[in-house]
């Protein structure tokens, strides 16, 4: 067995140029297979995730200096946030001892998963774990007791895709809002924030059309956020996958012809080995070793160059096993069909 492997490695040395080409080919080919499979999987997951999202987001553009009827504008917004929709704005509240407080005022029907405790009251106040000493908050001249403290430092993503932590933030949740009571009609910045951060339950199509109609009045232009494009998946499926199939197929066909020649070159050697008691399995192992070592070398070079990540190694191993099995399938009938005794005549290979 060891002898067979040694002979296989010697074969590589004898066919070094061929081996080099194979190494170059397999190194690149395997990298393409692994990276495309990886990105295909990731894209698919992302699209699935996006489909699973219940709430629709919007893209907002400022096209006017100010709304024509700000009161009307806010009233319309309040109607939308009564059910199946919510929005928030980010403001700085002043506290006596702490200074500025990062505050999110959330208007509307907030989904349960966003805040663990669904609060019954119309106005409820949550503070992060870093601000547990706060007992009361005065907003709009009214005092509100803090309802609960968010335990632990939970991470959340704002709509600008920034990651924030809850520990030093205050959340004021107003479940059935009349925004006019909270926001002055001259505060255009908050209006913009509210429209920009609006999320509406995907099922509620009427609310969505109502929202788009009410908001697009010359101050802001709102468009539905485009769904994630499937360009990359289409690219891989229509472009890279056929490419891989074609190069693999041509490599396999090349290998059949190359194996013919390689066996022919060594047929006298093989015949002598068989006469001296070697089995066909030994010869089989010898030729397969040739390809196994080539694949191992190309993986090694990949790791050395940093192209192959160590976490992906199992995938490479799987791929290599597949390639070896295909080669073995090509090789076996070729070895079996040879008539070895004919090749011992004087005169050698013709």
């Amino acid at each position: 067995m060891l002898n067979d492997i040694w002979l296989g490695i010697k074969d590589i040395w004898n066919e070094k140029w061929l081996a080099l080409c194979y190494i170059l080919f397999f190194l690149n080919m395997m990298f393409i297979v692994v990276s495309t499979t990886d990105s295909l999987y990731r894209e698919k997951m992302e699209i699935e995730q996006q489909k699973a999202q219940d709430y629709k987001k919007f893209e907002t553009y400022v096209i006017g200096m100010q709304p024509e009827q700000p009161e009307e504008f806010l009233k319309n917004l309040s109607d939308i946030y009564q059910k199946n929709a919510f929005s928030y704005c980010h403001v700085q509240l002043q506290a006596k001892t702490i200074g500025a407080l990062d505050t999110y005022i959330v208007f509307g029907d907030v989904p349960k998963k966003l805040f663990e405790k669904k609060l019954e009251k119309n106005v409820s106040i949550l503070v992060g774990s870093g601000l547990a000493q706060i007992r009361e908050i005065t907003v709009n001249g009214k005092k509100y007791k803090v309802d609960s403290v968010i335990k632990g430092d939970t991470e959340f993503t704002t709509l600008d895709n920034a990651t924030e932590f809850t520990d030093n933030k205050v959340f004021i949740i107003i479940s059935e809002p009349q925004i006019l009571e909270w926001v002055s009609p001259e505060n255009y910045d908050v209006m913009y924030q509210l429209v920009k951060n609006t999320q509406i339950l995907s099922k509620d199509k009427d609310r969505e059309t109502q929202f788009l109609r009410n908001v697009n009045t010359g101050f802001l232009d709102v468009k539905k956020e485009k769904p994630k494009d499937t360009e990359e998946i289409a690219f891989i499926l229509k472009f890279i996958d056929p490419f891989l199939v074609i190069i693999l197929l041509s490599c396999m066909l090349c290998t059949t012809l190359i194996l013919n020649g390689m066996i022919k070159k060594r047929i006298r050697e093989f015949s002598l080995h068989l006469i001296h008691g070697a089995l066909l399995t030994d010869i089989f192992i010898r030729v397969v070793t040739f390809f196994v070592v080539i694949l191992l070398i190309s993986t090694g070079i990949g790791i050395f160059l940093g192209i192959i990540q160590l976490e992906e190694l199992w995938f490479y191993a799987l791929l290599e096993t597949g390639i070896i099995l295909i080669f073995a399938g090509i090789l076996t009938p070729k070895l079996k069909r040879q008539n070895y005794s004919l090749n011992l005549r004087d005169g050698g290979v013709i």
């Binding site: 194979y22 100010q66 255009y188 890279i240 013709i350």
Partner: protein, 340 residues
């Protein structure tokens, strides 16, 4: 396997390699071209048009302001300090660096429909950009209402201009026009319209003639795709070599019967060349047709023909080279042993 079959198999492999070469070239060139600088940072669908004959048309005579809301048009004027922009799809919305509600905004549909003399001014210093009173930066007749400021690092900035104005407020379109859209059909419609008004297509990202430096791969993915395909050629050379080695008996018999090297090659390779030339052409056509629908087409017809000819020449040369190598070994060893 008989020699004839092996020969045809060689040709078929060559056809397969042709199609993979075509795909990898399209990929590499596509990425190269996509990475190239596009004026104003437009998308790769953009078309540049230049005025040839006198055209005094304004933008609303070319497009329908109500419905064509997914196009971006930029028009440049020589000897003027402004360019005109029509951008109802908010392509350049993020060029506004200061989002200040109530003070700055973007072009609206109302601006386009009512031909308001709105515009964007170029700020020359940072203090002007962030703090300056933007209403002071107006110019009578061109930009009477300034809606936001850009600085010189903006995509919209070109040297020599001070204003980007609402295109519908200008009476006629300029000497150079750039149009861009995601909707290629609409883009074509506008292109035809402009061409019939006396403009000429000067530049398209697609179908440009490929330069040598575009072929050289640069990023990792390009190198990998390129190298995987390039490695197939030497493997193919070895395949041909091994094929002739396997059929050495035929070469020797031909030799013994008095054939010269060239005559034997012609005799043995006739079928190979027929299949290779016809098969590769078919494969190229199939790939060309297939790729046209799949992704934006970058490779023009002449580049494809060059690629095809190059491939046939290279594979033919490799076939001939491996034949000559095998023939040479025969000469050295002599033919004595086979006369017996």
């Amino acid at each position: 396997m008989a020699y004839r079959k092996q020969c045809i198999l060689c040709a078929i492999i060559s056809c397969l390699i042709m199609s993979s070469t075509f795909i990898s070239f399209t990929y590499c060139i596509g990425r190269r071209i996509a990475a190239k600088d596009v004026p104003y940072g437009l998308s790769e669908n953009y078309i540049k048009l230049v005025r040839e004959s006198l055209c005094e048309k304004s933008v609303e005579e070319i497009i329908d302001l109500e419905n064509d809301t997914n196009v971006t048009i930029i028009s440049e004027y020589s000897n003027e300090n402004y360019i005109a922009l029509y951008d109802p799809r908010y392509y350049f919305y993020n060029e506004n660096p200061v989002q200040s509600i109530g003070e700055r905004r973007y072009f609206s549909k109302k601006d386009y429909l009512e031909h308001t003399k709105t515009g964007v001014a170029v700020a020359w210093s940072e203090s002007q950009l962030f703090g300056g009173n933007i209403q002071q930066m107006t110019q009578k007749g061109i930009c009477e209402e300034c809606i936001f400021l850009i600085d010189t690092s903006s995509k919209l900035y070109q040297s020599g201009i001070d204003y980007i104005v609402n295109m519908t407020s200008v009476e006629k379109m300029g000497e150079t026009i750039y149009i861009d859209s995601d909707d290629t059909e609409k883009l074509q419609k506008i292109e035809h319209r402009l061409v019939s008004e006396g403009y000429k297509v000067a530049e398209k990202k697609q179908n440009t003639w490929i330069k040598i430096e575009d072929i050289i791969p640069q990023s990792l993915y390009e190198i990998v795709v390129f190298a995987a395909n390039a490695a197939l050629y030497p493997i193919y050379a070895f395949t041909c070599g091994m094929m002739f080695f396997y059929n050495r008996r035929i070469l020797k018999i031909n030799r013994l019967c008095g054939g010269t090297s060239w005559k034997i090659f012609c005799h043995l390779s006739e079928r190979y060349f027929k299949v290779n030339i016809i098969g590769s052409a078919i494969m190229t056509l199939v790939c060309y047709g297939f790729m046209k629908n799949a992704i934006p087409q970058y490779v023009g017809i002449w580049s494809t023909v060059c690629l095809y000819l190059g491939h046939v020449l290279v594979t033919g040369f490799l076939f001939w080279f491996s034949y000559i190598c095998n023939m040479q070994v025969l000469e050295i060893r002599g033919t004595k042993a086979y006369v017996k």
